[in-house]
């Protein structure tokens, strides 16, 4: 098991997801996962793929090469970054001709990629490499009695051919199992695998909000304590845009959206501030008070 990774933040986390970054670093530290920061990392390439897929591959190759220089694999917090970098690594690591072509472009950055970097989503590292036993042992505040809904999103597991199919893309379990490791219930609900719609936000805002609104409405009916996200892009949809979604679908929602790493941090006894909970858009104060008052333990 490799427990040292180059931490890949991508575009959205430094701009709109510092709460994810802060909580991920806290959780990693407590689980002996070491993050190495590479300040020179740029965009993963995903936002450019639709316009110029070769350019997207060059940007991905640039990041893969920077990690390779340091002899590290990449840990991505954003699912779109994980998917884009894993797909690019798959292409470049197994196709020398393509790699040579991309290396011509990487010369612009004074870089060369030899096809050695692997890419993992942090959630996969937690589930597959750190393991549920170690996570359970780190938990000091069991969340018994709380009900959380897993949002897998799309790019954490798909395209599955680039992720070694460590979990089923059709009937995934990993995120539910991680939520259950805190003692909480992972709520099973219809349309659990539904896409957040974030990728069409720039093309058709109304359609994107309808997609996100469908899932949030379902969760409102289910009465969950929070939606658990592992992607900053999905969080922008469900948390940052929840007010706008409420006006589009004409329904009051008020569903807190936590990053899995924030949930873990709370279960490890960390305070809301260390986990950036004050940066979450839908207020989490009531939930935090309930957790801190020990309601979880009493009801469990």
């Amino acid at each position: 098991m490799n427990d040292r990774y180059a931490l890949f933040l991508g575009c959205t986390i430094p701009a709109r997801g510092r709460n994810y970054e802060m909580s991920a670093r806290q959780v990693a530290r407590r689980l002996d996962v070491e993050f190495v920061d590479i300040a020179e990392f740029c965009c993963c390439g995903f936002p450019v793929k639709s316009t110029f897929q070769k350019t997207a591959l060059v940007l991905a190759g640039r990041n893969l090469a920077l990690a390779e220089q340091r002899g590290l694999d990449i840990c991505a917090l954003c699912s779109a970054c994980a998917s884009s970098l894993a797909e690019s690594a798959h292409q470049l690591n197994h196709n020398e001709e393509l790699r040579n072509e991309i290396n011509m472009e990487l010369a612009n950055f004074g870089l060369n990629y030899n096809g050695k970097t692997n890419v993992y989503h942090f959630t996969r590292i937690l589930y597959e490499f750190v393991g549920l036993d170690k996570i359970k042992a780190s938990i000091t505040r069991e969340l018994n009695g709380f009900r959380f809904a897993a949002h897998y999103g799309c790019h954490y597991l798909k395209p599955s051919e680039y992720f070694g199919r460590f979990d089923s893309p059709e009937r995934p379990r990993s995120l539910d199992a991680l939520i259950e490791a805190t003692g909480a219930e992972a709520v099973q609900y219809q349309d659990k695998l539904q896409c957040c719609g974030g990728s069409v936000l720039a093309v058709d805002e109304n359609l994107a909000f309808q997609m996100a609104g469908d899932k949030l409405s379902r969760l409102k009916q289910e009465g969950v304590d929070a939606l658990i996200s592992i992607c900053p892009f999905c969080t922008v949809m469900y948390d940052d845009n929840q007010k706008k979604i409420e006006s589009v679908i004409e329904k009051e929602l008020g569903i807190p959206v936590l990053y899995l790493t924030q949930l873990f941090g709370l279960a490890m006894g960390l305070g809301g501030k260390e986990l950036g909970l004050q940066m979450n858009k839908v207020k989490t104060r009531t939930l935090l008070e309930r957790i801190e008052s020990g309601e979880a333990i009493r009801s469990g």
Partner: protein, 160 residues
């Protein structure tokens, strides 16, 4: 209506669209599509049919830009057509012909200019330092060089 019989062969040369001709039109893609469930304009099965029939007007339309790249269709296709990747290939062709929604053009422009989708400033780095987070590189002059020439000259927008 324009017909270009070799459209499918041109497209299948592009990365992601190689298995296009495997399609036997079962409709599994459309049946599971979360966009289709909400918006009738988007129909991946129909898009593939149009490509095979050489109907190049698909490049100028809105449809190909409505895919959320959720990969549901691609995972389920019994014929191993990489449908999500095929849509990317179609978008790349559309862009080369000057058709792209302004919002998408903007994304590429930002990445070329700032190296990221969002511009980060010294102020952002100061905020990061205050939170105990490491400082990030905020200027990527070389990134613009790996964008194709025709993307730099002007912001291309669709006529709509």
């Amino acid at each position: 209506m324009s017909r270009k019989p070799d459209f499918k062969y041109i497209l299948s040369q592009i990365h992601g669209a190689e298995n296009l001709l495997n399609c036997y039109a079962c409709g599994t893609c459309t049946a599971g599509c979360p966009v289709r469930a909400l918006d009738e304009r988007y129909n991946p099965r129909k898009i593939i049919r149009m490509v095979i029939l050489g109907r190049t007007e698909i490049l100028a339309g809105d449809e190909i830009w409505l895919c959320t790249s959720c990969y549901t269709c691609q995972e389920r296709c019994p014929q191993d057509v990489k449908i999500t990747d095929l849509i990317v290939a179609l978008r790349n062709l559309a862009v080369a012909e000057g058709h792209l929604p302004p919002g998408i053009a903007m994304q590429s422009k930002f990445v070329a200019e700032f190296g990221r989708l969002y511009e980060l400033s010294d102020f952002d780095n100061k905020k990061r330092e205050k939170l105990g987070l490491p400082v990030l590189q905020i200027s990527f002059k070389e990134v613009a060089q790996v964008f194709p020439e025709h993307s730099k000259s002007k912001d291309k927008e669709t006529e709509k």
